[in-house]
Symmetry: C2
């Protein structure tokens, strides 16, 4: 028997206690939702465990390094972490790479567009301790890839220009969770809810972000068509609430397919010498 | 009398000695071109000085923090640095923000799209030392702004979706230099040259990057039209060689205006579940 439990509750003090997104046998997916303190935008970090195999998804920067390290220690030995998956190159995604690389033997999965940018996060001193950087990074080709994960696998899906020009998402075929990064992200919910329950009421928490950060309707539409081919039980973004069940996921995919965003909306006046 | 000197020479060992892009009286613009070591992509960092007023442009991450700090000490007191300008949010742009904020009283200019993401670069411990983060960050509105700089000013120009969704460039009306960030960036030149001399021969060093990282021809075209309104003597990108003089700048602006890139080039097959 498998379980889908509550997740992504906002507005509570840092506990480090994750929400269990899925658990069945020795396979589980955890969401850490309350580790961001201070001025930073709320962000979720995720741990996927399959027996002895472990992957951390978008662990963030220095702000969340220590709290996340402590939090995952309840479940795994951080020194034995196998993989970090970085959906893209942002500060809230992967800026703590230096500390994870030194303190574990993990490999970092990141777009080939960003593999040569990540070394800028390591001082020359740290770089020497890490060893050959190229041995520690798996460059994801633009088409994505399937990552063997014990006797299972994880599917790395292309989501370019949403928002980053080199951007990926992770689909776990066992839990049927799509970890969608910034797609579907919402900001400002303080209801304490875990899941979107009223799609129309949720739109105002997503609309401004998606209109401005997502590059073009062409990309959102092509992405949504791809996702409709998959058997998805939950879409879990990196910020805010999750979408669960075919109806709610369908509503989100229809909405994002029709959204005018990014370069669709710019005009010459948006590229003008400021007065 | 003012001087434009050689710059951006590639393939030499780290010296920390900058190229002088411009100097006239107490106004000068310096390019640090050889501070990146190891596996990271080559990147230029810039210092603009106007009398007692100082601005550092895209200083980078931990990789360049110490070398750049040492290098600028020959010219200014780093503790008295007034501004850091971050064109966008990437690791090679602004990941060392924590160290600059602690070791100087500088303010950081960055797109309002990224101001809430930068705190992820600071541990909770560092955040306490920095004081109120909001007092240290100037959020640039989408339209850009003019920054008073002693008895002069610097013009912050919108360059969104090129490549970052929230992206700016800096124009210095005294030197007439446009610091263009990733626009015009070239990778792989090992000639030791400072400036582009043969535009057609230079295209192969730019084309792959601009086609894949720039979001859309709509954005490149609108941006180029804006730049044509300005009196620009040099376009100096963050990677590689610079463009100098009306003819060479015109060639670049015409080329980028016509370039199909980013979402213009994607199709459904680029958003497909990998097999």
């Amino acid at each position: 028997m498998c379980e889908y439990m509550g997740l992504l509750k906002g507005g509570k003090p840092m506990s480090g206690k994750p929400e269990v997104l899925y658990r069945h046998g020795d396979h589980y997916c955890l969401a850490f939702t309350d580790l961001v303190t201070g001025q930073g935008v709320q962000a979720n970090q995720f741990l996927i465990v399959h027996g002895e195999h472990t992957l951390l998804l978008d662990p963030g920067g220095d702000l969340t390094y220590i709290p996340l390290n402590i939090a995952i220690t309840r479940y795994i030995n951080p020194k034995k972490l196998n993989y970090i998956f970085a959906s893209h190159q942002d500060p809230d995604i992967i800026a703590s790479i230096d500390r994870w690389m030194i303190n574990s033997g993990c490999q970092v999965l990141v777009s080939k567009l960003w593999d040569r940018f990540l070394p800028h996060l390591l001082s020359a001193h740290v770089d020497k301790q890490v060893g050959d950087f190229n041995d520690r990074v798996v460059s994801i080709p633009d088409r994505g890839m399937r990552l063997p994960f014990g006797d299972s696998e994880l599917v790395i899906l292309p989501a370019h220009f949403l928002h980053s020009v080199g951007n990926f998402q992770l689909y776990d075929p066992i839990s049927k969770i799509l970890f969608s990064g910034d797609m579907g992200a919402s900001i400002g919910d303080d209801s304490g809810a875990a899941l979107v329950t009223d799609f129309a009421a949720h739109i105002p928490l997503m609309q401004g972000f998606h209109r401005r950060y997502m590059c073009s309707n062409k990309a959102t539409r092509l992405w949504a068509r791809m996702v409709k081919q998959l058997d998805v039980e939950m879409i879990v973004p990196q910020h805010g609430l999750a979408f669960k069940g075919a109806n709610m996921i369908g509503e989100f995919l229809d909405w994002i397919s029709d959204l005018e965003c990014g370069v669709d909306r710019v005009q010459q006046q948006d590229y003008a010498v400021p007065s």
